[in-house]
């Protein structure tokens, strides 16, 4: 048993020892490097690795004990060898120097410049892991964001400070939609200081280029910070990319008072990188081989959105994830849906029918919508109208199923009216062009136009006054 003096000595030693370089690792396995005989190293410490060729890489302590330290190397372990690899434990967690000048830059997953130019170093170093926001310090988000896209504004309204993922599939138009939202999103009646933080995890070069081009076209590139970890970059880098991106977003939103939109694509790749490390370490897997802590891990990212009392700014998250095999019950979309405040779900058959954006509004949802719409925010009839459109459109699906069995001819006249409503709804309300920016009033009016295809006594979610004012107008 150590005395208090000895304990103090150990701590002083540790401070002196951090930064000291060790050479010679005992094992390298995938992205993990094992090191023996070090001084006591803290859990989660930042590590600087020197490769045999003299280049530097960075890593983080994943596990520590008095025998061996396990380090994950973000840039991958290619080219490292057992005797020649050096390691320096920095005695502090992984931090990111953040500043407003990072807007307009293209960086890698660790926040370092991708094109070789130096990133202006900010004065503020922030722990990339962040800290949980105290629920009592949160401000409840209720400012309506107008995206100019009817099916989102009308049916799954986006609120400033909300986190809403896009559940998509390979080959669907999610990138196009994200680009359109980034270009058109605005809070009406406020000229808030708006910027975008973009994090790409394991996406293709073409996709990254598509986003850069579209930001450039809409003239916002100077207000975008891009963190790119592309498909051919080491997979381990993907596990840190959203954290660095969100660290900058927090700085911009809660220190500088900006309204930040964070687009993260593709979360499925992020989760797969976590699975890769978990398997490598021999952890006990849970569903589909993903680690048991996937929920907590995703929550640590998604919960970094929102608003804080008295800080002015906000973080709105728009994560994109491709559902493997379009399966919404796959662990990644499933766990995401339990954390985020709603979801926007894409439908392959709608895209096949040429409808853009191919959003199936029935499984889509915005949990914060209830407090952000209605009188004084959008329009008084909005809540009931959205409710009625959901109810009626869901009946259309039943009628379509029935029609496919007994044939359209055999339907009752009322059901035929429902089909007509469904067609109008999909082709006129949901469907719009990539450049079309509809105001919320336009959106609601088109909604009423669709409902006017139905007899008024079918509209039981709407009040008589609302029907009198808008129906058939």
């Amino acid at each position: 048993m150590r005395t208090k003096e000895e304990t103090l000595l150990v701590h002083t030693d540790r401070l002196l020892l951090s930064g000291r370089e060790y050479r010679g690792t005992s094992r390298i396995d995938g992205p993990l490097v094992y090191m023996r005989n070090t001084h006591p190293v803290g859990y989660g410490e930042l590590v600087e690795i020197t490769a045999p060729d003299g280049t530097h890489r960075s890593g983080q302590v994943l596990e520590t004990s008095d025998e061996v330290v396990v380090v994950q190397v973000f840039e991958g372990t290619e080219g490292l060898n057992l005797p020649g690899t050096g390691m320096r434990f920095m005695g502090e967690p992984l931090t990111l120097p953040v500043s407003e000048q990072m807007l307009g830059r293209v960086m890698n997953g660790l926040g370092k410049s991708r094109d070789g130019s130096t990133i202006p170093q900010g004065a503020v170093e922030k722990d990339v892991n962040g800290q949980p926001i105290n629920p009592t310090a949160r401000e409840y988000p209720r400012d309506f964001i107008q995206t100019g896209i009817s099916v989102i504004d009308g049916m799954t309204t986006l609120i400033q400070g909300q986190k809403v993922p896009i559940f998509s599939g390979n080959g669907l138009d999610h990138n196009k939609l994200a680009a359109q939202i980034a270009r058109q999103a605005k809070v009406r009646g406020s000229s808030g200081d708006f910027c975008i933080v973009f994090a790409a995890m394991g996406v293709k070069h073409d996709v990254a280029k598509y986003f850069i081009d579209s930001f450039e076209e809409s003239g916002v590139l100077d207000n975008v910070a891009l963190f790119l970890s592309l498909a051919d970059d080491p997979s381990i880098e993907r596990t840190i990319t959203p954290k660095t991106a969100l660290t900058l977003a927090e700085h911009l939103a809660f220190d500088k008072g900006k309204q930040v939109l964070v687009i993260m694509t593709d979360m499925t790749n992020y989760c797969e990188a976590l699975r890769e490390i978990g398997t490598m370490r021999g952890e006990i897997p849970s569903r589909k081989g993903y680690p048991g802590y996937l929920y907590s891990n995703l929550a640590e990212l998604y919960e970094r959105s929102g608003k804080i009392l008295g800080r002015g700014g906000s973080i709105t998250q728009l994560p994109i994830l491709t559902m493997p095999n379009d399966d919404i019950s796959h662990p990644v979309p499933d766990l995401t849906g339990y954390i985020t405040e709603g979801q926007i779900v894409f439908d392959r058959s709608m895209q096949a029918r040429g409808i853009y954006p191919p959003i199936n509004c029935l499984p889509s949802l915005s949990r914060l919508m209830k407090d952000g719409i209605g009188e004084g925010m959008t329009r008084g009839d909005h809540p009931h109208l959205a409710n009625q459109l959901f109810a009626s459109y869901s009946h259309v699906k039943d009628v379509q199923n029935l029609a496919s069995v007994i044939g359209e001819e055999e339907l009752t006249s009322l059901d035929k009216q429902y089909l007509e409503f469904g067609n109008f709804f999909e082709n006129k309300f949901v469907n719009q062009s990539f450049t079309e920016d509809r105001s919320i009033e336009q959106t609601l009016d088109i909604g009423w136009e669709a409902l006017s295809k139905l007899p008024s006594e079918e509209l039981q979610r709407l009040s008589d006054d609302e029907i009198a004012e808008h129906y058939g107008k």
Binding site: G42, N134, A137, Q162, E283, P291, P363, R367
Partner: protein, 592 residues
């Protein structure tokens, strides 16, 4: 706290830490780790080493760091001041933490759970020389306008004689209010607070049979699948099916005396919503703010996973404390799946052999232990109080066959299954009338008979039969279309559709509809069955169904939940009269 070193850190793997050179640490003892003083709990002891789960982020903990023992199990502080406060999973008051560490929760921060400065008006109810046994009441404190907080002899004292007790006056929770003498002559000083380990159920005198329903104000629950006071229920549903909305609604309007709302691994904004909304809502029964009866525990999904595991126990211990004072307490646990997943995560970190889907083999035992802490009890002081548990379950992919839902089903007696297709068509609350069940019918039937002139049970039976018939008829309709059915059967579909829109659905945002009184529920159900009866008779006489469904009065019935006030039962008489007349008129035309 920093005096007793019980061991040193050997290995750190996330929230699970291995300790070596362990001296006298006890199982479930609360410990503090390193110079940052992170809170942890001993979960395993073997051969001089111990496994500790840490309730905070473990970043920076080094091998060799000291571990300090606290000499007690993880426990909560109980006393006046709990109500209206929002705590994290290990009973740290979040509002006070904000004063210490700002908008973010930093590590190693501690704060007493109860306000130690605030003075409470204490009124003694015993005199010097009184013989007291454990759990008996010493005095009372008016905690909020509706909660009289009873100060009890801690369960650790079996028997004692009051040697001294303070007079009526204002005291803080730290002030000594009484001195008691134990049978062996030792003196014990009592304050208004006591501590209790969260994983141990508080002792009671006896468990009583359940008899009263917990009225929630949601028609589908109260009329079709009632829960008894002291009962347990699971609400499973995939994401977006309205678990949280249902829980909020019950927390707001149910007729329990005290509500404990546990946000276990859920969203931060949802807790903010509760904090923002509850103080503004007025309880229709007492006319006071709902916050006056609510305790909140918020361990959001991004807070450390071990504290999430503990939050459920913290909540139920506080609930039991108020039950012992003779209150009916309802616990909303949102969501127990997150708690089960926390168990899985910690079990995985401890490298235990997994059972189903990676969950530890002791999962069913833990679930059973939790739900068995509910019940209607006679407390040690002879008061009757209850704890009812309303546990949300979040099955992955909305699939009810997964382990947490299945094991929960074994230990609860009521099941409100949420249905995704109902939620998609915005039918809320999306409680399925096909999957749900309740085993409390026999217990609550006498109460309902009294409150419905004896019609409740028969009416409930009738409407359940109609709903079952509808399922079969819908299958036929899917094959051949509705026109192939005779009017008498088509009318069943019609009545069921009306029942769903007019009765089962409830609008949480409508001032009138969000809470439905018992009287209104009874009359609404009566009226719909009346419509079925008279309509069927008319159809038998040859009236076409189309004519009946087009009656103006049907539109009114469809909207009655939104238009008729809870207390305005006379309006139902009028509506019923109009219904009778309208159908009679139609019948008259077709008889000729």
């Amino acid at each position: 706290m920093k005096d007793r070193i019980v061991g040193q850190v050997k290995r750190v793997n996330g929230p699970v830490i291995l300790i070596k050179d362990v001296t006298d640490a006890a199982m479930m003892e609360m410990v503090r780790i390193g110079e940052q003083q992170l809170i942890g709990e001993v979960v395993k002891l073997h051969d001089g080493s111990a496994t500790v789960q840490v309730y905070e982020d473990a970043t920076g903990i080094c091998p060799g760091d000291n571990v300090y023992g606290s000499g007690m199990s993880l426990s909560v502080e109980l006393g006046p001041g709990l109500i209206g406060t929002i705590y994290d999973g290990i009973q740290r008051p979040l509002e006070k933490l904000m004063g210490v560490s700002g908008a973010y929760i930093s590590r190693g921060v501690t704060f007493p759970a109860l306000d130690h400065e605030k003075k409470w008006p204490f009124v003694p109810t015993v005199e010097v020389g009184a013989n007291l046994t454990r759990g008996m009441v010493l005095g009372e404190v008016l905690e909020t306008e509706r909660v009289m907080h009873k100060i009890m002899v801690p369960p650790s004292i079996d028997e004692c004689v009051v040697a001294n007790i303070v007079g009526e006056g204002s005291y803080t929770v730290e002030d000594i209010i009484a001195t008691v003498v134990l049978p062996d002559g030792r003196e014990e000083k009592l304050t208004m607070t006591q501590r209790w380990p969260i994983r141990v159920p508080r002792p009671v005198h006896d468990r009583l049979p359940l008899a009263q329903p917990l009225i929630t104000g949601l028609r589908v629950i109260d009329s079709l699948f009632p829960l008894a006071k002291g009962g347990t229920v699971a609400i499973p549903g995939g994401f977006g099916t309205g678990k949280t909305m249902t829980q909020h609604s019950i927390a707001q309007w149910c007729d329990a005396d005290i509500i404990v709302y546990i946000g276990c691994g859920e969203r931060g904004n949802e807790m903010t919503d509760v904090l923002r909304e509850f103080p503004q809502l007025i309880d229709p029964r007492t006319g006071q703010s709902l916050m006056e009866r609510t305790l909140l525990i918020a361990n959001t999904s991004n807070m450390p996973v071990s504290a999430r595991e503990a939050s459920i126990y913290t909540g139920i211990t506080m609930a039991e404390y108020y039950r012992d004072q003779g209150y009916h307490v309802a616990i909303m646990a949102d969501s127990t799946s997150r708690w089960a997943e926390a168990l899985r995560e910690l079990s995985g970190r401890m490298e235990e052999m997994p059972a189903e889907e990676g969950f530890p083999a002791y999962l069913p035992t833990r679930i059973a232990q939790f739900y068995e802490r509910a019940g209607l009890m006679q407390s040690l002081s002879g008061e009757t109080g209850s704890v009812s548990i309303i546990g949300a379950v979040s099955p992955p992919g909305g699939d009810f066959s997964e382990p947490v839902t299945q094991h929960t089903k074994r230990f609860v007696r009521c099941f409100w299954g949420l249905d995704r297709s109902l939620a998609s068509s915005r039918h809320f609350p999306a409680i399925s009338w096909i999957d749900s069940y309740t085993e409390y019918l026999a217990e609550v039937q006498p109460w309902w008979s009294q409150h419905s002139e004896g019609t409740w049970q028969i009416n409930r039976q009738k409407i359940m039969e109609l709903l079952q018939k509808e399922v079969r008829l819908q299958q036929i309709v899917k094959l051949v279309g509705p026109d192939a059915l005779p009017d008498s059967q088509n009318f069943i579909l019609e009545v069921c559709t009306l029942f769903k829109t007019a009765f089962l659905q409830q609008d949480a945002f409508s001032e009138i509809d969000r809470f439905c009184s018992v009287g209104k529920q009874v009359r609404m159900l009566d009226l719909i069955l009346e419509y079925y009866q008279r309509g069927s008779d008319a159809i038998a006489k040859g009236v076409p169904m189309v004519k009946i469904r087009r009656l103006k009065v049907i539109q009114e019935i469809a909207r009655m939940r939104l238009t008729i006030e809870n207390e305005d039962l006379a309006a139902f008489d009028k509506l019923q009269l109009r219904l009778e007349r309208s159908i009679d008129q139609l019948g008259g035309i077709y008889e000729d």
